[in-house]
């Protein structure tokens, strides 16, 4: 996986313009069709893309987290409890969710990140399971297995976003913020440090990069983004339970990231855009949806190691290295 060279690319390549144009067009689809169903899918794409974007930041230092759903859960529960118990406005609940998720990641990050490769995946898998079990064990906060229903909708300065058409612009705005943050990190000094750690930890360490600190920063930022997306999800869907943030959700974020491209800047967005609508258009055949997910995942790993976002580059290199 030595492809971090992409991070040092100039700001405006023709490819980037094509990507941005494509994504803007896709974002406009619900307004063209006017269908409430399409608005719903588009909102779900935004939420998934934010969460997957957070996972991407962690992946940029070479780590794959299977605890991403747990951090989304921490953000969701933080915001929901603040809003329902302490009457905090939702607009403050969302960043609070991000803050708490990020703080937890920062505290537990240092010991966790000493592990690399499959060992890091395994410990985050165990953490996600531990989160679910503990939440089930404290029903007075989590609602237990029946969860918390009737969560207040998002409201901006006194205006409640009660329907799909009004939530969508705000979802797009939040996604733009997250993607903007990703671009800033990627183009800045931090992004170069991330890439160095990802490519060769020992070399990065001996070149004077504080690798442990760098990994903790990535884990904290990524998990905070997960917390934000989880809080958004909770207020949009209106229901959460410990089971919402189980292993399956972590796996679906990993699938979106890998399908989009593990190290590509636009990978999370492409992955979410490709995979989120898939199940919605296969209604009535939900079993097939997961089989298709599995096949897509294995096929992408095998034939497109850079994900869908790397496809044009791979094609333009006459077959690439596939």
């Amino acid at each position: 996986m030595s492809m971090s060279a992409t991070s040092s690319a100039p700001a405006f390549q023709p490819m980037t313009v094509v990507w941005i144009a494509g994504i803007v067009l896709a974002a406009l689809i619900p307004w063209f069709t006017g269908s409430v169903f399409h608005f719903h899918i588009a909102i779900m794409v935004c939420i998934s893309a934010m969460a997957t974007g957070g996972l991407a930041v962690i992946a940029w230092v070479g780590q794959l987290s299977l605890a991403h759903a747990a951090f989304a859960g921490i953000g969701a529960y933080t915001s929901v409890l603040l809003v329902t118990r302490l009457d905090v406005p939702v607009l403050l609940g969302l960043p609070a969710g991000a803050l708490v998720a990020g703080a937890v990641a920062f505290i537990i990050g240092a010991p966790l990140l000493r592990l690399r490769g499959v060992y890091f995946v395994l410990i985050t898998f165990a953490l996600n399971e531990l989160f679910r079990l503990i939440m089930l064990d404290i029903p007075e906060f989590s609602g237990g297995s029946s969860g918390i229903a009737g969560i207040p909708k998002i409201s901006l300065f006194g205006v409640t976003l009660s329907n799909y058409q009004s939530v969508y612009p705000f979802a797009l705005f939040c996604l733009a913020l997250v993607m903007g943050l990703l671009v800033l990190i990627r183009r800045g000094q931090l992004g170069r440090r991330f890439a160095a750690v990802e490519e060769n930890l020992a070399l990065a360490e001996s070149s004077g990069i504080p690798t442990a600190k760098t990994q903790t920063i990535a884990f904290t930022i990524g998990s905070a983004i997960a917390g934000f997306s989880g809080a958004f999800l909770a207020h949009y869907v209106g229901f959460i339970s410990p089971e919402t943030f189980g292993f399956q959700l972590s796996v679906s974020y990993v699938i979106m990231l890998v399908t989009g491209g593990r190290l590509a800047l636009w990978g999370p967005l492409v992955g979410a855009l490709f995979l989120t609508p898939l199940p919605e258009f296969l209604r009535g055949a939900v079993e097939y949806q997961h089989v298709i997910y599995g096949v897509v995942l294995i096929a992408v790993l095998r034939f497109l190691p850079r994900g869908l976002a790397g496809l044009p580059r791979q094609l333009s290199r006459k077959g690439g290295r596939g």
Partner: protein, 287 residues
Amino acid sequence: MSFLIAQSLINGVILGTLYLLMAIGFTLAFGVMRIVNFAHGEFYMVGAFCALIGVTWLGLPFPVTLALTIAVAILLGALVERVVFRPFRNDELSGMIASLGLAMILQHGALILFGPDPQAFPALVSGVFKWGALIVPKSRALALGVGIVILLIFYIFLMHTRHGRALRAIVQDQEVAAVFGVRLEIMYPLGLGLGVALAAVAGGLMAPLFGVSPFIGATPLLKAFIVVILGGLGSIPGAALAAILLGLIESFTSSFVSASAADIVTFALVIVVLLVRPAGLLGRAEA
């Protein structure tokens, strides 16, 4: 009190044996192929469905059904190794991600074929063994007995046959094993096939006790995962020790505290072991 302790001890050993059946294949796949196989639990599910089909649809005797289950699982495992895992031989992370996809395919494939409802499995034996106040249902005793026999056969295969030695050689050092004439092209599919066959046997043995559905693979995977982390990824003696330990911990905490406490305690233990001693209780350190 002493009766409760003895009963917990027996239950713990029964649980531990079943966890060991699950864990050996999981740890073998890592030792031989460096694959963390998240689809391992789904082979337990496949084994349970094989047993169901053999006993209720085809009317075969249970021992014949188990033998067929093993054969089917070995073939399926070898096929999966060839089609899914082989391209990722030198990439642990991609192999593991691929196994997540494989698990989805197997589980939801079973859902398409058999539907979501749990299916009853006819009881093979009924009644209980009694020693004073101690009670062991005969169905559990049967599962335990067959499980131990299969573990013994596997142990003899591993320690005293040519292929068994070859597998152990690969676990120790793949390159040196290859230099000494171990054929990886045969041993990789064989290793994965045998590993998932043990999971499938566990599924077949447990089917009469717990019923069969497409979703039964998740819990055995978690147990195998805990056992293998505690014992050290790739270490078979470590898995044996950890499986019995986990069985006893679960049995005692659920007798004396609560079942949810048992789960939380074991997962906390897993995290501590990974942090303090990633190679496991008995595993050797990574190079």
